[in-house]
Amino acid sequence: MIDFVVPSLGADMDRATLVGWLVEPGDVVKKGQIIAEVETEKGVIEVECWHDGVVEELVVEPGPEKLPVGALLARIRPLEGAPTPEPEAQPPTQALKAPPLRPTAREVAPAPPIRQLAHRLGVDLTRLERTGPGGVITRDDVLRGASALAGQGSPAGIVPARGRKKASPRARWLASQLGVDLDSTSASGPEDMVVAKDIEAAPATTLEPEDKVAAMRRAIARSMSHSKREIPHYYLATHIDLDKSLSWLEAVNAERSISRRILPAALLLKATALALREVPELNGHWIDEEFHRSEAVHIGVAISIREGGLVAPAIHNADQLELGEMMELLRDLVTRARSWRLRSSEMSDPTITVTNLGDRGVETAFPVIIPPQVAMVGLGKVVDAIVPVKGSPVAHPVIHVTLAGDHRVTDGHRGGLLLSTLEGLLQEPESL
């Protein structure tokens, strides 16, 4: 007599309840036939019988009782002539055992959900091509089988999964960094492969806006948590008299048509870029426990997104731009950022970032450095303040400027030099 017991279907399964019998006493059962259903923590699972025989007795009735693995469920009488299997003897010695052979392709049972799907679609599992690891039947195999059955296309409501698109490792890495969806990029590389160039040319994300916002939130969470965990920030703040700069800018703008008008932000960015030449230790990246100074000044501009979130794409070589060019690039960047059309190259390489919260009425910003950068400049609101001019109190527009520095790379002294250089530059706006 053969015992049919609660099988161990996984290492973490130790009990199950019997949901139902698919056979009755006296039924002939075949090896591999599903004869019972049990409920586990992972759901209802069909249980196969491993021997040919006749059901002698169903020992347990379906019910809520939790049965441990190994509990007797039924007795099966072997067919006449078939030997009763003996329990496997333990090997007599402790000799080194060869590793057990992996089951061959034909023996790997498809996962229950796959079997269920096949059942629903009326597909014969034994006739399917097996493309899964180790020869297991995959969902795709079943779907293909179903299409063949139907003679045309896919069964209604079921879309076959697409093949994995070929992409170079670098392209995959870039795509993950930049949130680019590989499936929607063009593939210009060898063998129709998506390569880095394709990712760089792709819009930064082609996900749906809700997904984009969520993905961006996650990216910000990761980056900022990392920053606050790893980077020992120091903060310096000062206020800078913008009287000369703003008067000069007003005069300049008076000569310009609206489309060529320059905002103070552009002037401040340009001045920051130039000031960084004086304090290059703030311009670069901290990678592998080491500061890598950047020759080029690529200023990241923190841009808030209307749907929520923030991006900080770079204005490349900001120290070498004419003010007009700077303004044009800045406007273009903001427009594209807010319509999710940034280029990945802009996302990947800022050497320092500037955040301008003045428009939002914030007086002083205390920014969190974006790793692997080592500094961030915060610009606050321009306010009127009483400043001494030739010994007399005069009201001038003043801006609060903050610097967050990475203490592993610089100290407050160097950071202070950036702020004082910035102040000096803004007193001679015509030189910008």
Binding site: S168, P169, R170, G189, P190, V195, A196, K197
Partner: protein, 331 residues
């Protein structure tokens, strides 16, 4: 005409000879030993004329006993000499494999640091001269497999001239592979050369689109391929490994990080070869830099045949290198 460095025209063969003669003039412990290195002048005429200058004790003809004379070179090194052992071709060196792999490579480690083996073993390698299978193989990778050995492959006249001095100065066994196709190569040799660092690969050409990594006899082919690529507007970074063990991994990673595309050109076979090692290292250390599959241009997996057209078909060719690089760049 500038006078920055005096230059003279010289063959690769002469450069090796000059290196050996120079070493023997400067250091009494140095001597040359091998089959037909003396009276015959060397199978590839590398040591021609040296017997006359240094005499039969220091330019020592040996019987055809690769294991004994390579082992004797190792023993002499242990005994305080600085032998240069010439093995006619790498195929023959298999008769001395026991001494090279079981003795030279192991003694320092096995003796807990007591016995280093400052021997230099030179051998010809490679195909292209219709010498057929038993004289044409490139087994550099086999030796590069073994810790304890240093394996170098001068691919230029300058390296042929200057690697030997460093090899002789090295306290450990150094195997120098000279590609038969290079012996007749002619070129200018600056007078003020200096010993070559046996730890560093050398960038022979800087480029941005694709990395071509190679060594030894394939270097001239790769340079020719790089020229063709330049004309097509593809800029190749050519890295000459020079040292096959220990590999200059940072240099390999650097070039891949620069171009993101890699072609390895190796006259050895692909299977289990040096090219496989390089590909594996790049996959281990720089996979996310790769913007295209790694490609290898190697010898066909056959013994090198005699007939010229068949021999050439079995070997990496400039056109293969160009086509492979071009495809990687996506043109």
């Amino acid at each position: 005409m500038t006078l920055i460095a005096e230059k003279k025209t010289i063959t690769y063969r002469e450069a090796v000879r000059e290196a050996m003669s120079d070493a023997m003039r400067n250091d009494e412990r140095v001597f040359l030993m091998g089959e037909d290195v003396g009276r015959y002048g060397g199978c590839y005429a590398v040591s021609k004329g040296m017997l006359e200058e240094f005499g039969p004790d220091r330019v020592r003809d040996t019987p055809l006993s690769e294991s004994a004379f390579v082992g004797a070179g190792i023993g002499a090194a242990l005994g305080g000499m600085r032998p240069i052992v010439e093995v006619m071709t790498v195929n023959f060196s298999l008769l001395a494999l026991d001494q090279i792999v079981n003795t030279a490579a192991l003694y320092l480690h096995m003796s807990g640091g007591q016995f280093n083996v400052p021997v230099v073993i030179r051998m010809a390698t490679g195909a292209g001269r219709q010498l057929a299978a038993q004289h044409s193989h490139s087994l550099e990778g086999w030796y590069a497999h073994v810790p304890g050995l240093k394996v170098v492959a001068p691919g230029t006249i300058e390296d042929a001239r200057w690697m030997l001095a460093t090899a002789l100065d090295d306290p450990d066994p150094v195997i120098i592979f000279e590609h038969v196709g290079l012996y007749n190569m002619e070129g200018e040799l600056p007078e003020n050369g200096a010993p070559v660092d046996l730890a560093k690969a050398k960038l022979r050409q800087s480029g941005t689109d694709v990395s071509l990594i190679t060594y030894g006899g394939s270097l001239p082919k790769v340079m020719a391929a790089a020229d063709e690529l330049t004309q097509e507007g593809i800029s190749a970074d050519v890295l000459d490994l020079r040292v096959l063990r220990p590999l200059d991994i940072p240099a390999i990673i650097d070039t891949v990080t620069t171009t993101h595309r890699l072609v390895v050109i190796d006259e050895g076979w692909k299977t289990g070869g040096l090219s496989a090692e390089i590909a594996a290292r790049v996959a281990e250390d720089a996979i996310w830099e790769l913007d295209a599959p790694i490609r290898r241009v190697c010898s066909a997996e056959v013994p090198v045949p005699y007939a010229r057209h068949m021999e050439q078909a079995a070997l990496p060719q400039v056109a293969d290198i160009v086509a492979t690089a071009r495809a990687l760049v996506g043109r």
